[in-house]
Structure formats: C-alpha cells, structure tokens
C-alpha cells in the first residue's frame, strides 16, 4: 500500500479500477489455456471477418490507371473513367474492363476476388464446382465462392448473435431486477407470465411469423428477441432476491436513494457475475438458432451469406461434399470456440475455484 500512502493520491482512489477480485478472475481465465487461446483465435477470426470486404470482394483493392490511383472498394468509378463505353459503375470482373485497365496500368485484387454474391460465369465444370485454384473451397450451386460466403456468413452470424445477446440481456436483466427487487405480486405475475411465454413453441411461431413479416436482419432480431429475453431472468431475479435484504441495501434506502439507483448501483454489480457467466452460452445459442432458421429457409433473406443456408445446400448436393463439410467445420469451430470461452469465463468467476 506504499503507493497509497500519500494523501494527495486521492484522485487515483476514486477513479475506475480493477478490484483484486477482478484481477484474480482474469488470472484464472488466463490459466485456462484452452479458453484463453479460444478467445484469441475467436477474436482473430472475428476481426478478419469484420474486414471481409477487403479480404473477399469482386472489386479490386486498388487500380492504377493512366497515372492515377483508384480505390474501387471505397468509391464507385464509372466505366467511362477507364475508357469504357457505359457511364455506369465499372464491372471489374468483365474481361473487357480488365483489358482496358491493364493497357494503361494494373489491378490489385483482394486475396479472394469474389464477394458473397458474385456469380462466376466462367466456370466450365458442372455446378457446384469442386475446390480448385480458382475457388479454394469450391462454389455452391449458384456459382458463388464458398470461402467468400463463409467469411461473410461467419460475420453475420456473430454480429447477429452479439446483438441478440446484448438486447436480450438488457431486457432479461431489467425484468429479473424488477421481479427480484420488488417481489410480491409483481414477481408472482411476471413469473407466471414468463412460464407461459417460455412454454410457447418458439420455432413454430418463428416460422409462422416469418411467413407474415418479411425476414430481414432487424425483423429476425426482434422476433427472436421476443423469445430469448427470458433466459437471464431467473438468474438475475434470484440474485436480486438474495441481495435486496442485505444491510448495505437497507443503508442505501435509509439514505433515501431511489429504487432505480439502488438496483443499478448497488445490486446489479453483484448480479453481473452470474449474468456474465451465461452470456457466451446465450451467444452460441443465438448463433445456432439463426443457423437453424436459415437451414429451414425461414431465416435471413434469400441471397444473404449464411451458414445455415450453406448446410442446406450441402444437404441438397450430397455429391458436392465440400459444401456440407465447410458448413459443418465452420459452425463446429465457431461454437466450440464460444463454448470453450464460456467455460473458461464460468470457471474464472466460480468463487470455489482457487488459484491454480
């Protein structure tokens, strides 16, 4: 405590800081090698997929033409700028445009020169085309590059999962907090409501709703949120029921602090541990549900890059095993990483876990 012995270090005390407990949890997490490496691999893959436009795109990263640089992935350039005939955006995959540019400069392509929806008309083999140097993982039955679709599909799955996890956590924590803090009749009524709500056949409802509402990222998110927010309620409610009668909560009440503030500032930090532990599992659950809906054809709109749709194509084209195997491996690796991270987080927060 030598650093704290000067009274003028006061400002340092009141700022945000990691408690020794948090440090110990981080240490526990790091000691779990599998979870720790899973986190890094997952972050690397996720970061890579966030820059999917740079990795897999049907527009060049950079074009040198007539002494000028062009960045087609950032700005649209008309074909006429490269000496073409149409005043529309140049189709860089067109051999005619490529010849025009090559005559007065060069083209720098991304590692995968296809976007998720690029149809490769130049394939000579029957579709789906097997893996080759042109398409590293082959193409699907519409001549779209599998690797590009996997990359974009991974991103959309994770983003969807993260958004759904965040939103359902916020709703679930709020509902659980209100139930546990006020108790009594509110708790009773909400608990019965949740029991009925959880009893609804979610998949059927989602399929029926998908027929009524046009599926899109946002509408699917809202639909699935309707049924996923109940996941955290029980945990948060239990924690609030336990903590609400602690004397430090009474002390805050005796100060006159409002209920909302007591809930957010005094009880919620204590309930967060139980909540955080659940989040990676909610994330993997959300990803799975989305893939399931896509597989059934009730998920994201047609043409979206989606892992579920990849699996469905694999099922329909058993003669093209690269489709099914790719979808299986990507989903398997993604879920395994998430579960490993989740297990490590859970163990790190386990109070019975000692230093190892």
């Amino acid at each position: 405590m030598a650093a704290n012995s000067q009274p003028d270090s006061a400002a340092a005390w009141f700022g945000m800081q990691c408690s020794p407990l948090d440090l110990r949890r981080w240490q526990n997490f790091r000691n779990n090698t599998r979870g720790y490496w899973s986190l890094w691999i997952f972050l690397a893959l996720f970061t890579l997929s966030l820059f999917a436009e740079v990795v897999a795109n049907d527009k060049p990263l950079l074009v040198r033409y007539d002494g000028m640089f062009y960045a087609p992935i950032l700005f649209a350039h008309a074909e006429t700028e490269f000496g073409g005939e149409f005043a529309l955006e140049a189709d860089y995959r067109d051999p005619y445009v490529q010849d025009l540019i090559d005559a007065k400069g060069w083209i720098l392509w991304p590692p995968i020169p296809y976007s998720y929806d690029t149809i490769d008309y130049g394939i000579q083999t029957p579709l789906p085309a097997p893996p080759s140097s042109r398409h590293y993982l082959g193409t699907d039955d519409q001549a779209r590059d599998v690797l590009a679709r996997v990359l974009y599909g991974f991103r959309i799955s994770i983003l969807f999962g993260l958004a759904l996890t965040a939103l359902s956590s916020v709703l679930g924590i709020a509902a659980g907090a209100v139930q546990g803090y006020f108790g009594g009749l509110i708790d009773l009524l909400m608990q019965r409501f949740i029991e009925i709500w959880e009893g609804l056949p979610v998949l059927y409802l989602l399929i029926i709703m998908a027929a009524v509402i046009e599926p899109s990222f946002a509408s699917l998110l809202i639909l699935m949120l309707l049924f996923s927010w109940t996941g955290l309620v029980a945990v948060v409610r239990a924690e609030f029921l336990r903590v609400r009668n602690f004397e430090y909560v009474r002390a805050a009440k005796a100060l006159g602090v409002s209920d909302a503030k007591i809930m957010t500032r005094h009880i919620l930090p204590n309930a967060m541990v139980a909540t955080l532990t659940f989040m990676p599992f909610i994330l993997s659950g959300s990803v799975t549900t989305l893939a399931g809906l896509d597989f059934l054809g009730f998920g994201l709109p047609l043409g979206s890059p989606s892992l579920g749709e990849m699996l469905q194509q694999g099922k329909n084209n058993l003669q093209a095993p690269w489709l099914g195997i790719t979808g299986f491996v990507v989903i398997g690796v993604m879920l395994s990483l998430l579960v490993f991270i989740g297990e490590a987080v859970r163990d790190a927060f386990d109070p019975r876990k000692l230093f190892s």
Binding site: M1, N4, S5, Q6, P7, S9, A10, A12, W13, F14, Q17, S19, P20, L21, L188, F246, E247, Y248, R250, A251, A252, K253, A254, L255, G256, V257, S258, R265, H266, P269, N270
Partner: protein, 347 residues
Amino acid sequence: MQPTDPRTLLTLRDLHKEFDISGGLLNQLSFARGKLRRNRATVKAINGVSLDIVPGEALCLVGESGCGKTTVGRTIMGLLSPTRGTVHYQHRRIDHLRRAARLPYRKKMQMIFQNPYASLNPRKSVAKTLLEPAEFHFPEISAAARRQKVAEVMQAVGVEAAWGTRFPHEFSGGQRQRISIARALMVDPEFIVADEPVSALDVSIQAQVLNLLKQAAEERGLTYLFITHDLSVVEHFGTRVAVMYLGRICELGTCREVFSSPRHPYTRALLSAIPKVGRGSSRHSVHHKPNLKLKGEVPTPIHLPSGCVFHARCAHATDICTARIPPLQTTASGVQVACHAVAQQRI
C-alpha cells in the same frame, strides 16, 4: 398521553407494525362448515409503542430477540411503514411522507447496522461507499470538498484515509463497523439509530466501537436510539433505557434508576439474568431474589396474550393482568412502568 416536551427530537405515538405471514391467496382459503373462509395471520411485531427521544440522549432499547426492537428502529428510519401510529421528527409527522418529501429528514437521521459483514457493498471500495451519501445529499459541494470530507470522517472513526481504495473484505469486523459508522456520519446527522452495532463484534472491539460512538456524540451533538440486547452495553452507553417485551415497552427510565431499582417483573428477570462474577460483588443489586428465573417461553406474536403480554410468565399476575393492558405510568422515582402490580403497589 403525556404532553410532549417541546425539546423532543423524535416522538413515537402508539406505533403498531404487523407483518402479514398468511402466504398466498390459496393458502389463506379454507373450508369451514360448508363456507369458504379467508384466514389471515399477522405477526404483531410492535403493539403500541410510544416514546419521546430528547436531543443529546442515548436511549437504549433492550429486550430479547424477536421483541420488536429492530422493527421499531426500521420504522423510525422509514424502511418499514407503520401499520398504525405516528412518527414525528421535531414535531413534524414523517411516517406518511413520500420519498422526495422525506429526503430532508433522511439527511438528519441515519442508521448503523448490526452485521458489519453485510452492511458494506462488497463491490465498492470504502471511499466509494462513503462518497455516496455525500454525493446524494450534498450535490452542491465540489468533488474535492467531498473527498476531503471522506478523509476527515475516516480519520474521525480511526480508519486511515489512505485505505479508501481498499474493499470491505480487506478489513476486520471492527474496522468495517467503523466504516459503517463513518457512512452514517457522512451526512452530518442529528439522530442515529444504532441497531445492535456491537453485538457482532469481539468483546475487545466492542468497547472501542462504543467509545467511538460516544466520542462522536460529544463532538457532533448526536442523539442515539441504541438497540441492543446486551445489558452491560446499556449500562456503559445509555442515558435512558426502554425495556421491550413482545412489542410493548414495559419499563422506561434513566439507566441508573432502572438498573438500581427495576420495578417491572420482566425487567427484574432480565437484569438478574446478567451473568455475575462472584456472589456478593453484584453491581446490579436486584433487591428481589438473587436469581430470578422466568417460567415458560415467550408467547407467539401471532396470537398475543390478552391484557398484559407478560402475564403468563409473571409471578405477580392477577385477574386484572389477563383482562386489561397496563398503561405506562410514571412512578415516584420518575421511571415509567407498565404493570398493574406496580400500579396497585403490590410489588
């Protein structure tokens, strides 16, 4: 009711608090002789407590477990609302006020809790715990001045100000209780309800904390309602003492009078239960019998006994004790006693 002393800080009048324990609606319903009936059960925690607390005193509320001491404290603090009766602070009624209207009184009244291991938020550093009351009640003060105040109050309770970064689990029970006291002192209160502040502490630490409370009272002109079941603490700390039994006050007077000549049979039994070292050297001269043992158990507060709540266990009970509730009556020595036998001068 006797006329209220104009100096009175806190007045309780005929305070009742009942807790519903009848459970859910389905549990309450029962069939009796072909009719559906709804039965409700309540625990009568406080049954008509009237008290006047004057500034500068340390009124001790004593009684055995479950007699309603803590409920009285929480009702005064507004953590519970009374079923019947009123709480006045400086002659203004406060028990029915809404949250916002009550805030000015919250600043004047604070509470110290029994369990120092539960009364501090484990996820907040000590400095943050202490800052909260100041931020809440003195938003106009600058952050630097608030921190200054935290440091001052920590010094005052004997906890080094540099330890503010630490978390509650890094402190001993006595230190935690000092921090709880510091939290109560942060808003410069006039009145503090201390709910068994030392009963969870080691005996050697008890004296330190009691002296700290005494010192704070002298320096800041505090008034205490000191809830305890430890009579030796009362003798050390209190100026007046109120003895409670089953939600009623049975004897109320200065510590000296009550301890030297207890009148109510329950008080006598309570005082004679203090363990003594040696025979003749008793400081609590109970002039009745040296070792007075009560028969039976405390009746359940769900079905209160008729008349005097103590009658079933009292050696002096007569017919009137089972029929009428004895009022608090002032005796010649100034002590108020609620006992028919004392009123009839049988004891």
